[in-house]
Structure formats: C-alpha cells, structure tokens
Subunit: 477 residues, 2 copies
C-alpha cells in the first residue's frame, strides 16, 4: 500500500487496492498479526454496534428471539453427526491443543458455525409441544480457516456475526420465519447500511451444508462482483433426527421439530464501506458514524480568538450532535477538511470571519461536491443526515438497477457477467458439479440465487431444457 495519507487508487479501476486503502487509511480496521485476522478499530466497531442495536431492537423483538451464548468449543463428534454439514466445513476447521494434558480424549473444534452445539441444547430443553417454538440468537466470533485470499471484513479466518437458531412444530411456521428474517435483513441493509440488495434462493450447489433450502441477500459491489450479505436457512428435520431432538405432541406421540438458522456478519461493514466510499476516502450513512460533525475554524493571523469563540457557539447550538472542533495547531484548514473527509465525517462546518459577520456557517456534506452557506439558526443536521442516507441508498440502487440485465444465451451470460452485471437468465440447476462446470466455462460468472418472486417459461441457458426458473448470475467475492 502506498504511504501517502490520502487514497491513491481508483474505486472503479483498482477496486481491491482502493478498498484496502479506504479501510486502513480511514482508520476503520487494521490487519491482524495472524494472517486472515482483523483489528476492528473504534470507527469500524461503532458501525457494528449500530447493526447490533437495530437488530436487537427491531428484528429479535419482532420475531420473539432471545439472545444467549453457546461455547466456542464443539466436540468433534457433534460435528460429524450430520454428514453434509461435516463435509462442508471439514476443510476450514481449526481445533485446539492445550499446554496441559488433561486426559480429555475428544478434539474440541473451534466453532465455524453453531448448529450442532445449539441443536444439542434444544435436545436437552425440549419436552412437549408447549415448549415450542424455541428461538435463540447469539452474537459471537466464528473461525473458518480460509486458505483462499482473505480480505478485510469480506473474508477472514475469524469474524463476528449473529446466528439465529429456531425450532417449530410445523414446516409452515418455520419457513414463514425463514422468509420473514430474509426480508428483515433486506430492511436492515436499507435502513442502517443504505445498501440495496436482491433476494433469492440458493441453487443446490450453493446451499448451506445440511440445509434443505438456503435463502440469501446479495449486493453488487463497485467492481461488478456480487457479495453475499446474509443467509436464512430452512434446515428441515435432518439435524433433529441425528441429534435426537423430539417432543411429545398434543396427540401424545413423538415428533421432530422443524429447524431454521440465519446470520449476518461483519462482512456487512465491508459491503457498506465499498458501496458508498469514494476516491477521497470513507463515506458512510451518517447513522454509522459516531462523530457526525467536525467544525473547522478558518484562522488568520489576528482572528483566532473570535473565530474559536464562534466555533464554540456553533458547537453549543448543535450540542445534540456532539460536534468536535478541530483546533489542532500546526495543521492547515485544507488538511483538516481532507482528514475529516478521509474518515467519513458526514458534515464539515467551516467558520471564519465571514461566517461570524453573517451569523452563518459554511457546510460541506461528505457526499456532495459543493459547499453551502446557511444561517446557523436554519441548520438542521437531522434532516441533512436523513437526506444523505436516502441519497446514498438511491445512488447505490441506481448503480445496481442499471446492472441488472436479462440474457438468453450462454455467450451473453458470460459477456455480461464478466462486464460486472447481475445477469438474469433461465437456468435449470441440477447439482453442485454442473454448477461448477458452468461457472468455470463462464470465466467465474456463476449462479448467485434463484429469483423467487418471478417465474416465466424459457430455455435453460446451459442445457437448453425448458424451465420456469430464473436465476441471477454474477462474478462473486
């Protein structure tokens, strides 16, 4: 990475390098010392806390889910019970070795996901139909020992996430929540991150290991690659059977409940940073920034006292937003404005002689080019921030909408996908192997998800067979 203070790469031409610079130089994150780990700095963690707050206050409350905490360590035997699950996670598992030989024979796996250990608790807790549904969620770190290239927030060996796990009497109730949660994730992305997503169901080759159906939300990044933003799985009764989770029904017979799980991770932060930021640095929806307003005094030789006094007055007027005054000595006004923009401060307020005389402030909103002079008494940051959030969302939405293209031949699919579009096409997915072949032949353009709210007859782009299934394709992270 170049040593310059500011960003030296271009968002659309060198997205990967640009993204890394934005994360590091805006002081959102650092690389950890063990490969593939991340240090989430205060600016980054504040973003995560806003996701958590929205999630706890809106989604968990609405779906009646309780937070709890399960162990980091899972007995290896648990992990082997569900065959597909075991197979899917085996390559990325890490387990522990200890300094003391404690005579415990079983390997302890560090959780890559918690289905097995949570299902084992369901087995202990569940007695009769009266206990259902049981709905829990945990905020936790998980470990997947990636061998592929890791990337700040987007792919790491340890990441933070929430994982919800619920069991129900009927498949209907269970699937209703699978979809309900997916929609709630879409709202979260819109309302908190200002990131538009598409929704759909994963093809058989891309399902969560052990799931009957996996639903997902996906966003299109500036380099035209799709990023999976969240998943919601209907897991059926498979885990229930292998772990012996049963309940006595109203009919006084034993039944197995239906199971779902769903999660979003700190990957959301990476998607948000990548979607909105520009070549000057970080841009975020104002709700994700703790220090929303920085006041920069325009100092000349003789005006320091009165300008700083006025800056204090502005600060007091806006005290609800807890602005800070950048009164560091030895730095120019231009440097201070650039620095505030680099770290994504939504509003920079400049005050100098002219502003004092006119009782105004000069306002620069992070995502707009022009500065604006407004009467101090008329300045309404709350509305300005709400408008900025909406503007960021609409801009990202327009970017995504423009890049949704429909095609009917494999050549077009390949061409449009490689050009960085979300490509819609008729496709009859058969199995993981065939999906891998398609992706290889299309130069990395693969099925992202089946469009669930749209059906039409057409010919499969890969096999030519008749199908009513429409699929989104894209290159992906």
């Amino acid at each position: 990475m170049k040593k310059e203070l500011g960003i030296t790469s271009d968002k659309f031409k060198e997205t990967s390098e640009w993204y890394e610079q934005v994360c590091l130089k805006s002081r959102v994150a650092d690389f950890g010392d063990i490969k593939g780990t991340i240090v989430i700095r205060p600016r980054g963690y504040y973003m995560w806390e806003q996701v958590q707050k929205y999630f706890n206050d809106n989604i968990l409350t609405k779906f009646n889910v309780d937070n709890c905490y399960f162990p980091l360590f899972i007995p290896e035997s648990f992990f082997k019970k569900e065959a597909e699950h075991a197979k899917g996670f085996a390559p990325e598992l890490a387990w522990i070795t200890t300094a003391t030989d404690t005579g415990e024979e079983e390997k302890a796996i560090i959780r890559p996901t918690s289905e097995t250990i949570i299902v084992d608790s369901f087995r202990k807790w569940l007695r009769t139909y009266r206990d259902l549904p049981i709905k829990v969620n945990q905020w936790a770190n998980v470990v997947r020992w990636e061998v592929s290239q890791t990337k700040l927030f987007l792919r790491g060996r340890e990441f933070l996430w929430q994982e919800g796990h619920c069991i129900y009497k009927t498949r209907e109730e269970c699937e209703k929540d699978v979809i309900g949660i997916l929609e709630a994730y879409e709202d979260l992305c819109k309302n908190v991150l200002a990131v538009p997503v598409i929704k759909g169901r994963k093809t058989p080759g891309d399902k969560f290991p052990g799931a009957v159906d996996t639903y997902c939300i996906e966003a299109l990044m500036p380099d035209g690659k799709a990023l999976q933003m969240g998943t919601s799985h209907y897991l059926g009764q498979g885990f229930m059977k292998v772990f012996g989770v049963k309940y006595m029904g109203e009919d006084e017979k034993e039944h197995e409940p239906h199971y779902n799980s769903w999660g979003v991770s700190t990957r959301l932060l990476g998607a948000t940073i990548m979607t909105h930021s520009d070549n000057k640095g970080l841009i975020l929806p104002p709700g994700l920034v703790k220090n929303k307003i920085v006041i920069v005094p325009a100092l000349k030789k003789d005006n320091a006292e009165r300008v700083l006094k006025y800056a204090e007055e502005v600060k007091k007027t806006l005290s609800k937003f807890n602005p800070s005054i950048d009164d560091r000595e030895g730095y120019s006004m231009g440097f201070k404005i650039n620095d505030a923009e680099l770290v994504g401060t939504p509003m920079v307020i400049i005050v100098g002689d002219k502003e004092i005389d006119d009782k105004t402030v000069t306002v620069k909103i992070r995502d707009e080019d022009a500065k604006e002079v407004v009467k101090l008494k008329d300045l309404d940051p709350k509305s300005i921030f709400a408008e900025m959030h909406e503007r960021l969302y609409q801009k990202a939405k327009a970017f995504q909408d423009e890049r949704v293209v429909e095609v009917s031949t494999f050549e077009e699919l390949k061409k449009q996908g490689q050009a960085g579009n979300f490509v819609k096409a008729h496709y009859l997915p058969s199995d993981a192997e065939s999906e891998e072949s398609l992706k290889a032949e299309a130069g990395g353009v693969g099925a992202r998800c089946i469009v669930t709210d749209e059906k039409s007859k057409g010919k499969c782009i890969y096999t030519g067979k008749e199908t009513d299934i429409v699929v989104y394709f894209a290159r992906n992270y």
Copy 2:
C-alpha cells in the same frame, strides 16, 4: 444433581451444590459439552446485556473509552515478549491446529487476555504526544484452559468479559484512571447487581502477570469465601519497552507511555446469583430480569372467563412492564407460583374472584415472605422494584459487614478465616512464595487485598515485623 424440579440443597450448608442447582433449574445456564464450558441461556444472557448496557452508557462514556475488537488469535512470539506475563499464563494456554497445512510457522495462541496484541496495535497507532491518551475496550470471549475444578460462571475455560486498555503520557493520569475504573466497578456492582464489594490492592504474590500494581474488588459469598469481582492494573512501561511503543513528546524526544488494563467478566453473574438467591430458587435485582411480572389466575370451575378477563385488564394496566399471564392448562396455581419464584420473577400477581370484586391484586414480591393485597390503581411496580433492589443490596451488605473481623494473631486469622469471614490483619507481604506458605499454614485462608484507604501501625501477623499495611484475608474461589 437431584432430578426434582425445585432446589433440594441448602444455601448455607451446601453452597456449592445449591448454587449449581439454582443456575441449572432456574434455566440461567447449562454445562457445555466440552468440560469447563458453559451455555448461557436467555435469562443469564439478559443479565449480561444489562451489565454491558450500564458499562457502555456510564463507564466508557465517562472515561472516554471506545469499543473495538481485536483478534482471538495471538502470535506465540508476542506472548513471550513480557517474561512475567508469559510465565503467568503459560500453564493455561490453548493454541490452534488446523485441517490445512498453510505453511505458517508460528503458533497461534487463543487469547487468555489481550495485552500483547493490543499493545502491538498501540505501537502502530501511536506517533506523537497529540495521539495520547488512547483508550480502547473490547467485549470478547477469552480462553484459559483451567485444570482445577470449573464452576458455572465462576471459573471456566471460556468466559465473556470486557477488557479495557489505555495508554497515557504520565503515570499520574494513568493511575488516576486505574483507581477511577475500580470505583466505577464498585458502582456497577452496587447499581446493577446489588452486590457490595470491598476494594483494595493485590499483594505482590497475587498481582496480574506483568503488572506493577493490581487493584481489585472482592465480594464475600454465602459460604464465606471471597470472590474476585474485577481488577484494574497499572502496568507501568514494561509492555511498552518490550513492544517498542514510543511517541515523540512536546520536547521532541522519544518517550514510552504508561499503560493500564482492567476487566470484569461473566463471573459477576455467578456472584449475583449466589449472593441473592435462596432455597426456593433464583433471586435477582429486578433490573436483571426481563420478565419482571407474572400474573397467575386463581381459577375455579366456573370463573375462568371473568378471571382471565380481569387478568388481561391487569396486564393492560401494567403494560409498561410487559407482564405475562400464566394461563397454561393442566398446572395448579401453586405450581405456577413456585415456578415463577424458581426462575426469579420479581413480582407475582395473583388474581381471582376476590380481587375482581375489590378491584385489587394480590402481590408476592420474590424476596419477601408475605403476600400483600393492593388496589390495582395503587400498584406501583417501579417503586417496588427500586425498593427490592435496595433491600437486596442492604441485606448483602449487612451479611458482609458482619463478617469483617479484625485480628492480631495468626491463630485468630486462621480460625476466623476458616469460619468464613473477611479477616483484617496487619501483614507485610514479601513475595509470592511466602504468601503461599501463609495460605497453606492457614488452611486456605490467604491475602485478598491490601486495604488502601486505611493505615495503622501494628505487627505483621506472619513475621512479627512492624508494618502499617492492613490486609484483608479470606478463603477464596
């Protein structure tokens, strides 16, 4: 553990067995499947969320500390840099092995505490005196592979905690926060947990590995054993030197900052449960219970409709507290009241024919013996809960105060300590070895902390030497 629904052991006679039953049967926690791990169930996790909320809103704000997140994995070499730190944690370390040979040579330790990895970030972040102080905190899980007996919440191989880490220009600023945080911890225990603590400084043999001074808060459990509730360390400049953390001062020379760290863990939940609960089950300060009010209808053959209607009216009147109605069929009123008390419901409201006629409710507060009949319109849960919190605190405080005894001979120390008291005595601590001998000779009664707000001349209880140091002794967890 006995299979009965209720608690079958006595709080003061069989504290350990009683405590385990309360945790399990009140559905606060379960044992994890890997030895020494814990499942924190929703009732338990809600307690932790209240600790987090108080801590974030009050302590972090007051001391200007930012939340962030550092990796779970620490390079082994980091851990070896500070000799005492390395020695202190070596026996309990766990590290990882992975399914893929990724060619990385260095062992990754699973954090038992994060001084080393956070200090390494300070090294990267710190440039000049203008950057100081740097104050960060993380909420995280840590792993210490205990070989001794583990105990739900009190001692486990994985636990949740917060760890604050700050660096400053001067020793004075640094130590001021060490003490400030200790006092804030005391307030947290009082205001959130209703648990009284004593404060002090650790003796040399009991300091945190790598610290210059360790300050602590300790509480006395019902079996007369002391429990360390939180620690705040002044770490001096040792970690700074070995990690090369330096800054350019105003004098344009290089300096090393002064460092402190401090933490409280989910152990606080265990202390709270143990302090307040009784032989009927869980008792908690109402602020730590999500479902604060349960309405139990007193149903007879013919009154179900009007009683349930009145129960709904009561529920609506108290809607601010979101009460639930226990209208489960097939369970007696007595069973329902016992169940509500077992899980620590602060207020049980009984409604039946008499209550309907008089527009009253019969109220049973969890920590009081008698039921009380009050006019529905006069019922004020907020005041009742505040009073309950204060009552629990005062009861625990009286228990602790009664057990503080002063002695002047080693025989008395041993006798009073073994009887379950906080024993105050003059003591001149010399080193870890001598402290271990004293504890062995006193049958497990050891130094807990040096009383910092009191000095008086006297003879050391162990060596007979003159000293002005007064120390609290007790058996301990």
